[in-house]
Symmetry: C2
Subunit: 126 residues, 2 copies
């Protein structure tokens, strides 16, 4: 059965391989649990968002959900990415939804609180 | 009693007020539970990292932990911020620790998996 939806975890991208590796590690639990998920980069790294949308279309996927691995929406998410997605929708006849950046989700704020609390406990132990 | 440690949640900063508001919302659960935590910006917004380190020193705080609200370490976290912190250490005689960017913590990857799973469930319901 072909999954009807493809999830693209969109990172900005960088020519620094270590930067991309951090995003791959961040995405790993999602990729392990959701076979329909992939990482894609906006620029400077591969696979590109364009490549991954094209692949989804070629596989007969009808819906793509783009999840921005960004903490907040700046110019890229307000202007550049929507323009790119308009182009891909027209070229591939595919339904694409751009979700809010992950930093807007309250679960990220809760995770941050836990990270800071445990770093503080470690420093008090040390 | 003066807290011995100050936590600075370091965001990049932007001239776009909406961008900063996302970081303030992300930081809110941490600020509510840890009175020693503050938000500080590297550039383009206030309060600046420099201001917040200066305030901590003036309050007699001896240790500052800087928690980067960045998903991965690029040039800013590898070069610019360490150089800024070296300067502040010398000027204020204060102990400053730069922690890894929050995106390197496995709890963020787990939160991402939950966010994507629920967005997928919502799209299947819709």
């Amino acid at each position: 059965m072909t999954a009807a939806t493809r999830i693209l975890l969109l990172a900005h991208g960088s020519s620094d391989r270590r930067w991309c590796e951090t995003f791959e590690a961040l995405a790993a639990p999602t990729l392990r649990s959701l076979p329909e998920a992939r990482v894609a980069y906006m620029e400077l790294a591969t696979p590109s968002l364009e490549d991954e949308v094209g692949k989804a279309a070629a596989e007969g996927i009808t819906h793509v959900q783009v999840v921005p691995l960004f903490l907040a929406a700046g110019r890229h998410l307000r202007k550049d990415v929507p323009a790119m997605l308009d182009d891909y929708r027209q070229r591939h006849g595919i339904n694409i939804t751009l979700l809010p950046p992950i930093g807007e989700d309250p679960r990220l704020g809760d995770a941050l609180k836990e990270i800071v609390q445990s770093s503080l406990e470690q420093s008090h132990d040390g």
